[in-house]
């Protein structure tokens, strides 16, 4: 169906159910209960899940298929964000032009950077992309202030032209980004028993885009073009010997993944019309690498899981504080309680980066295939044992 094999269609269906029902199953704990703060089903966080999911899917098309490790993908996300905010400022508060233009601008950016960087491979390629991204970051934060807003960032303002629909909404406020009048931040809350589910417009728009992005990624993975990219990864030299230049293929993969990053940037400003230079910094590029690795490089659904997991940890782990820990271990004798809290303290709250770093190291050391690779390995082992028993 849809030009997909049965397994791929089921995978797409799985992701569809996953994102459609996310507001429900990400809120497993009743409102007001002790664990309610572990609920991830609020719009802001869910939007980030899917937006970074798109970013990671795109990154995976480059890194997972061709093996080229780019350390500068945040530059495309940043460029897309700026382009998106400018569309919201100049043209219309409708998010569609913003998202489309961010994707195109990031695409143009990645053609230029990719054309130059792809002349080298291996670590040289990584350093070249890193250099370009750091340059974009430094310029955006300093000299390009008229375009990028410098360190304060770029945002919509009351005196923007917005030629299509006027500078302000009826009440004289800055209009909020919307889709043909349906505001992105609008949500419906449903109470079921003790549970509270929030259905947000912006989230479902992002989720819809994620599904399209995911579908395109599946098609790329299964296409002859995708095979070519895998050939680049497994043996670049042999590919050249067969008389095929790998350059156009890698460049196409680079541009596609750059456009995915721009799309993510566009969605980000559609949710919150604000773009800052720090989005381009190399730590942001590092983050998307982490997401892809954690989920599973070269797998279809891995990057989405990785993005969700990292963003979840970032939000939830950093919220845990000592008081909460004391509450949890209150059932233990005082000495042991304090001991447990002291041990766990460095890993949560402000120290959640430590957990992230450790988790990341463990995945690289023990699960080179990421979570998806590990799970499928486990599945295969269990399955094979059962078939042997028969």
């Amino acid at each position: 169906m849809l030009g997909l094999s049965r397994n791929d269609f089921l995978l797409l269906l799985f992701v569809l159910v996953l994102v459609a029902a996310a507001p429900i199953f990400l809120n497993p704990f009743p409102e007001g209960s002790e664990f309610a703060q572990f609920n991830a089903g609020y719009p802001d966080l869910m939007q980030r899940f899917v937006i970074f999911g798109i970013f990671a899917i795109g990154f995976n098309i480059l890194f997972g298929l061709t093996g080229y490790l780019s350390f500068g993908h945040a530059a495309f996300l940043g460029a897309g964000s700026y382009a998106g905010v400018w569309m919201l400022k100049l043209l219309t508060i409708n998010v569609i032009p913003a998202i489309v233009v961010s994707t195109i601008v990031a695409g143009i950016f990645s053609v230029i950077i990719g054309y130059i960087s792809l002349r080298r491979s291996g670590i040289y390629f990584s350093i070249l992309t890193l250099a370009f991204a750091q340059m974009s970051f430094a310029l955006a934060a300093s000299v390009l202030t008229p375009i990028t807003g410098g360190e304060t960032g770029l945002q919509t303002a009351l005196h923007d032209p917005r030629i299509l629909d006027g500078a302000s909404d009826g009440a004289g406020n800055i209009p909020a980004p919307s889709l043909f009048g349906l505001e992105m931040k609008q949500s419906w809350q449903v109470n079921v028993g003790d549970w509270l589910w929030t259905f947000n417009v912006g989230y479902y728009l992002s989720a819809f885009v994620l599904l399209i992005a995911f579908y395109i990624a599946i098609r790329i993975f299964r296409s002859p073009f995708g095979m070519m990219l895998k050939a680049v990864k497994s043996n670049n030299q042999r590919l050249s010997y067969t008389g095929i230049s790998p350059r156009p293929y890698t460049l196409a993969a680079f541009v596609i993944s750059g456009m995915y990053a721009g799309l993510a940037g566009g969605l980000m400003v559609a949710m919150d019309p604000l773009a800052g230079a720090e989005r381009m910094q190399w730590t942001a590029s590092g983050e998307v690498v982490l997401m892809t690795i954690l989920g599973g490089v070269g797998t279809l659904v891995g990057p989405v899981l990785g993005a969700g997991l990292i963003k979840y940890f970032e939000n939830i782990f950093s919220k845990i504080n000592d008081n909460l820990l004391h509450q949890w271990f209150a059932f233990m004798p005082d000495g042991i309680e304090d001991f447990m809290v002291t041990i766990i303290h460095p890993f949560v709250g402000k120290g959640w980066h430590l957990t992230l770093g450790l988790m990341f190291m463990l995945v690289v050391v023990f699960l080179p295939g990421g979570l998806v690779g590990g799970l499928s390995g486990l599945y295969r082992r269990v399955f094979q044992r059962r078939s042997k028993a028969q």
Partner: protein
Amino acid sequence: MELSAFLLQVLNGLDKGSAYALIALGLTLIFGTLGVVNFAHGALFMIGAFCAVTLQKILTHSFITLDETKTDFLGKPLKVKTPYVEEWFGQVAGQAIIDWAVPLAILFAIPVMLLIGFAMERGLIKHFYKRPHADQILVTFGLAIVLQEIIKAYFGANQIPVPAPEAFIGSLDFGTLIGFDPGVIIYPYWRVVYFIFAMIIIAAVFAFLQFTTFGMVVRAGMADRETVGLLGIDIDKRFTIMFGIAAAVAGLAGVMYTPINPPNYHMGMDFLVISFVVVVVGGMGSLGGAVLAGFILGILESFASMREVIEFIPGINQVVIYLAAIVILLARPRGLLGRKGVMES
């Protein structure tokens, strides 16, 4: 441009260039011997800097006595803090020791960094020789985050100032030494010290590799690891020691850099990105190239931060290193002094 202004910029570039050169040297040593791309090297530089902080904290560790002759503003006897070192060695000697905390930290940092280096190599890096470079980058990147966060948990997120010894505070009027008017070329003493220190370390590393039997074996191992192994030499052990030495070089660079730039937990990452650019510009695997590129890029950066240049090309000071890296990598794919066949699979 006047000659004096030119010289001043060259001098200004030297201290940053020294730091780049030292870190890049260590990176290249690790890459050349073990074939591992170590993204945690910036963290080693940072840990070195925090060795100086730790030693200073230990030396100024004090006990409190009550001075009955003086009173504080509440009328109670004044509390006087006396560092233990002053108690043990007498006031003059004790204060001198505290004053010279940074140079003393060199002695403290060498064993610490060697140990950290050995532990890192045996505990983690060893298992990554046969894995792809991407995996090595990723696992050391994770390690860098972990080290950084541990330091942050202990020392906090703020910069911690560590002063240079009093003898080196102030500036050298370098211009008068070579016949310029006084006050034209002024250069802080500590930066002179840093540059000389860096030169000594670099010379020592090169001499160690060039003139000792151990160094000869290591160089042979860099050229052809397998054959050296076949000759019955335990090359792995020697490479582990080289990893420790590379860690110590980065650590010492960090120790001595503290008076120039108060250390904080993310200084390693800031330097790491540039150091990788330096290594690649110098030519992956070339020790001389790393040192050369370190100084060239440091000086280039200082020229680009001149007011005249910034007025001419705004923002150039922010991007000049990356720009130089892009130009050099496209014009000379293997970097300045790179050899054929390194990292080109």
